[in-house]
């Protein structure tokens, strides 16, 4: 048995080239630790990325890595996973990479449920091209390409995912080690496409855009850490809860100590509640919001494949076609 690897074993010698203070550093740490904790093998792990700040990630992980082209990482990862389903395939992408230029590939990876883990670093801005508004930027975002404030309606990664047929959608905050560790482990164990939206702070172009709920001082009141089968509680001493208003079909904050029976119990297989949780703004839902166990695309691909890609017959058995004739 080989010795158990540590986070350090998953770190390359490459000098990391993100801006000092970038949220990506914390995510990199969480991921290398999660790989070690999961007992992942370096040679059977591959990180595939597109283009953007986040997409430099593969250079810093001591596994196989492929830095591809803008928006297409899910497609490359799909081909890789089909070629070798034994691999642990991760996609690292950003909000521009996955929801603008690569929206189509993200959608189709999710609906197929191909066995890849997608880390979507959402900082609501284009960082690498120096700060233009992105498809997740809020209306009114001022940027070099929107000096008067952006007016595009932003896309919700969670609603996009569920609408595309995603079977696993979770959220984490870049600097929240415990929360990140939890969602990374669960995403890793999921059979199919697991999408983690990570709220990532771009300190240069969009600093503190998530501060309203990531600020540690008030995190207890602004973050909802979901656990399957447990009541949805938050606040100091877990004094507040979430209930479903059955008249308006909206989620509401209630005093958990007054009416504990009205507090919703998190059922991660409930898509309707998941949609409501995604749209909740205060508090913001974190952890595994939706999970629906299913068979993966590659499982079905191989189950349906007559030879499991192994060549059980020779081309000579097919080359003659339906009818042939001889010339003496």
């Amino acid at each position: 048995m080989s010795e158990k690897l540590t986070a350090k074993d998953f770190t390359t010698s490459q000098e990391v080239r993100w801006c000092p203070g970038c949220g990506d550093y914390a995510i990199l740490k969480s991921v290398t630790k999660a790989l070690a904790d999961a007992g992942a093998s370096r040679e059977n792990t591959a990180f595939i990325s597109g283009i953007g700040c986040a997409s430099r990630f593969p250079y810093y992980v001591e596994t196989y890595g492929f830095h591809t082209i803008h928006g297409r990482a899910p497609a490359v990862a799909t081909g890789l996973k089909l070629a070798n389903p034994e691999l642990d395939v991760w996609v690292v992408t950003g909000d521009g990479d996955s929801l603008s230029i690569g929206g189509n590939h993200l959608m189709h990876a999710l609906r197929r449920n191909i066995g890849i883990k997608i880390l979507l670093f959402n900082n609501e801005i284009y960082g690498l091209t120096k700060g233009q508004y992105s498809p997740t930027s809020r209306v009114g975002t001022t940027s070099p390409s929107s000096p008067g404030g952006s007016f595009d309606t932003p896309i919700s990664p969670g609603q996009f995912a569920l609408g595309s047929g995603a079977k696993f959608y979770a959220r984490g905050v870049d600097t929240d080690k415990a929360g990140m560790s939890d969602v990374l482990q669960q995403a890793h164990a999921f059979e199919g496409t697991s999408l983690i939206e990570i709220f990532q702070n771009c300190i240069v172009y969009n600093e503190d855009v998530f501060a309203s709920f990531t600020d540690r001082k008030n995190a207890a009141n602004t973050q909802l850490h979901l656990k399957h089968g447990e009541p949805i509680l938050f606040g100091e001493n877990k004094g507040k809860g979430i209930q479903l208003n059955r008249d308006t079909l909206e989620l509401e904050v209630i005093d958990a100590s007054e009416s504990p029976d009205d507090v919703l119990v998190h059922d991660e297989a409930n898509k309707t509640i998941a949609r409501l949780l995604i749209d909740l703004h205060t508090p913001v839902a974190l952890g595994v919001i939706y999970r629906q166990p299913s068979v993966s695309y590659e499982y079905t691909f191989y189950a349906h494949h007559p030879s499991r890609m192994k060549r059980t017959k020779s081309i000579g058995d097919f080359i003659k076609g339906p009818s042939s004739w001889s010339v003496e």
Binding site: T12, Q14, R42, E43, N44, T45, A46, I48, P58, Y59, E62, T63, Y64, G65, F66, H67, T68, I69, R72, A75, V76, A77, T78, G79, L80, K81, L82, A83, N84, E86, L87, N104, H105, M107, H108, F301, H305, P306, S307, M309, K310, R311, T312, K313, S314, I315, G316, D317, F318, I319, K320, G321, P322, S323, S324, W325, S326, V327, E328
Partner: protein
């Protein structure tokens, strides 16, 4: 009684509505022709619409077949026999026919309504416009319905059997038995016993009808001697079938699975359909969400150690361009098949053209060289698929294989090769060294500049690749100015090195020096070959377009004139001027139709009759 006509070769054209089953009738006639040992070439010519409005000229679907004692390399210039199912089919086909051709007409479709739809003011059967032809008109529709009456089909269901009825007549004309068609119908329609029996009854009725024809004129019976072919086992094959088998064979020769990733597009889709049935030979197919995903998934598959292949037609290839650059930069093997069609944009999806040569050779951002090959016949698609994979693995590079819409669908007899006698396909082994995996991944072979194919899952060889420029030796990201020059030169040198591995160019026909040489590429092989034979002109047909064979320049310099016929505005001419400083005379044609032998002969004669230099 009809007198027998012994002929060397004959061109038959079948034409009707796109819902009349013309393509099925034609392909079954081709199979019967093949089994009779007669050489042939076919040309399915159909509209872009699946079911165009009934009775219109733009809804006409046609199938042309040239058959004879051989060698037959084209579907023929001018049909000798036309079977026209309706007035529109007659109107569209008539200008193509040889004067004196036999025209078989279905009387029942010559209604006022159909004549109007076809744009006829008067019935062409009565106004003398068919006086140059031997018209054989019969009540095909009515006779067919009578033949299938006993099966209790509706009028429209029964009417759908008339292609089998007409096929029966055609088989009688060519003295064929019905066995191959009946066997096919029994297999294909096994789940629909009534339709199966009705179609077979229609086929037999049509065949019997030949003997006892109640027709306006006698139906000729034609006999053709079997072709003189090299001994061996033969089958009928289309380019799409041959390319599918070639890719599967290449996988076997390389001992690797093949992953074919594509998005449906005309006329490329038949390849996907054929490969989807070759799973047992280790072929996987993935229908991607778009053209870009298709090539990216193929790149991902190659990265994972299987042979990644994608295919499309011009517009789809344009979308794949950025990803081709990635495969070049990451030094991964990949095969990109382009079934060219008429363009630009959507253009003429079902018509053939060879106008993507610039795109293949020059059409990428930056200095991004990719080897380019072209298949010349349907059967050649098999060999060129193997050649494309061989180059891709040896040099660790994407390879573009050009075919076209004509080759995709056209059938010809093909001598079945023995795959076990072909050379295995190899790639660079992982170097046994103490260097870092990142360096070992880019330790290139000196002759081919191919790097080792190190894939995820291999222990202790973890490394990173990507689209960013990398250091020539360490493989790490590098923005160094001199290194970029070195890497750019290396990518060029790698593709140039392919010329050291491919065979020298041979004369395809004729003497290797003289006044005029014709240079062709792709599916124009058939008509150019016949034109060269007719005029005794020298002929060079290229299968490697980038890099060109090393001796090509020297070969061309032995001729005073170089004639380049091609189905574009002169793209190979440009390439020959660019690469070899040649001074070719371009003979372009972009009508969506293959070259006629006659137009090539005329051009050659015009060029050779002029004052000699």
């Amino acid at each position: 009684m009809n007198k027998n006509n012994d002929v060397e070769s004959i061109v038959v054209r079948l034409a009707g509505d796109s819902g009349d089953g013309i393509q099925l009738m034609g392909s079954q006639f081709a199979v019967s022709t093949a089994l009779a040992g007669i050489d042939f070439a076919t040309f399915p010519d159909y509209p872009a619409e699946i079911r165009a409005p009934v009775g219109t000229t733009f809804g006409v679907s046609a199938y042309q077949i040239n058959l004879g004692s051989g060698p037959i390399t084209t579907p023929g210039d001018t049909p000798d026999v036309l079977v026209a199912f309706n007035p529109a089919a007659l109107k569209v086909s008539l200008p193509l026919l040889r004067r004196g051709a036999v025209v078989v007409i279905n009387n029942n479709s010559f209604t006022d309504r159909n004549l109007t739809k076809a744009g006829y003011d008067a019935d062409p059967r009565d106004d003398g416009s068919l006086s140059d032809y031997q018209v054989v008109s019969g009540d095909i529709g009515r006779l067919n319905l009578e033949a299938v009456k006993e099966f209790g089909l509706s009028k429209s269901e029964g009417g759908r059997c008339k292609n089998f009825w007409a096929l029966g007549v055609l088989l009688w004309m060519f003295d064929r038995d019905l066995e191959s068609v009946e066997t096919w119908a029994k297999r294909r329609l096994a789940g629909k016993p009534t339709m199966r029996d009705a179609n077979i009854a229609a086929l037999r009725a049509g065949h019997a009808f030949g003997e006892t024809a109640e027709l306006s004129a006698s139906l000729p019976q034609i006999s053709i001697a079997p072709a003189k072919a090299e001994p061996g086992e033969y089958r009928s094959i289309t380019g799409a079938e041959a390319l599918a088998l070639g890719l599967a064979a290449a996988g076997e020769l390389a001992d690797k699975p093949v992953m074919f990733c594509s998005y449906p597009i005309t006329p490329a889709t038949p390849l996907l359909h054929h490969l989807a049935r070759l799973g047992e030979v280790g072929v996987g197919t993935f229908q991607a969400e778009d053209e870009i995903a298709a090539i990216c998934a193929a790149i991902g598959a190659s990265y994972g150690g299987v042979i990644g292949v994608t295919s499309s037609s011009g517009p789809g290839i344009a979308l794949k361009t950025e990803a081709m650059g990635l495969a070049v930069n990451a030094e991964l093997p990949l095969v990109i098949v382009n079934w060219q069609r008429g363009g630009p944009s959507t253009g003429l999806p079902t018509k053939t053209e060879q106008s993507d040569l610039y795109q293949a050779v020059y059409g990428r951002n930056a200095d991004t060289p990719i080897p380019v090959l072209a298949a010349s016949t349907s059967g050649d698609c098999f060999e060129m698929a193997i050649e494309a994979v061989r180059i891709a693995l040896r040099h660790m590079t994407p390879v573009i294989l050009l075919a076209d819409g004509y080759l995709s669908n056209a059938a010809e007899p093909w001598r079945i090769p023995n795959v076990s006698t072909l050379q295995p396909i190899v790639h660079q082994p992982v170097p046994d060294s103490a260097e870092s995996p990142q360096r070992r991944a880019f330790a290139r072979d000196a002759a081919s500049l191919g790097r080792p194919w190190i894939t995820p899952g291999m222990p202790d060889l973890m490394h990173r690749i990507g689209g960013i420029e990398k250091d020539v030796t360490t493989g790490h990201i590098s923005y160094d100015a001199d290194n970029h020059q070195v890497m750019t030169d290396l990518r060029m040198a790698k593709v140039d090195s392919v010329a050291n591995f491919i065979p020298e160019q041979e004369m395809t026909f004729g003497s290797d020096s003289g006044d005029l040489v014709i240079v062709g590429w792709g599916s124009t092989y058939g008509p150019i070959y016949q034109a060269a034979r007719t005029t005794d002109a020298s002929y060079i047909h290229l299968r490697h377009l980038s890099p060109l064979p090393k001796n090509l320049g020297a070969l061309l310099s032995r001729f005073d004139k170089v004639l380049v016929p091609e189905m574009n505005t002169g793209q190979l001419s440009t390439l020959l001027r660019d690469k070899l400083n040649a001074r070719p005379v371009s003979f372009p044609k972009v009508t969506g139709q293959p070259f006629l032998i006659s137009e090539l002969v005329e051009k050659i004669e015009a060029m050779t009759k002029g004052p000699t230099s």
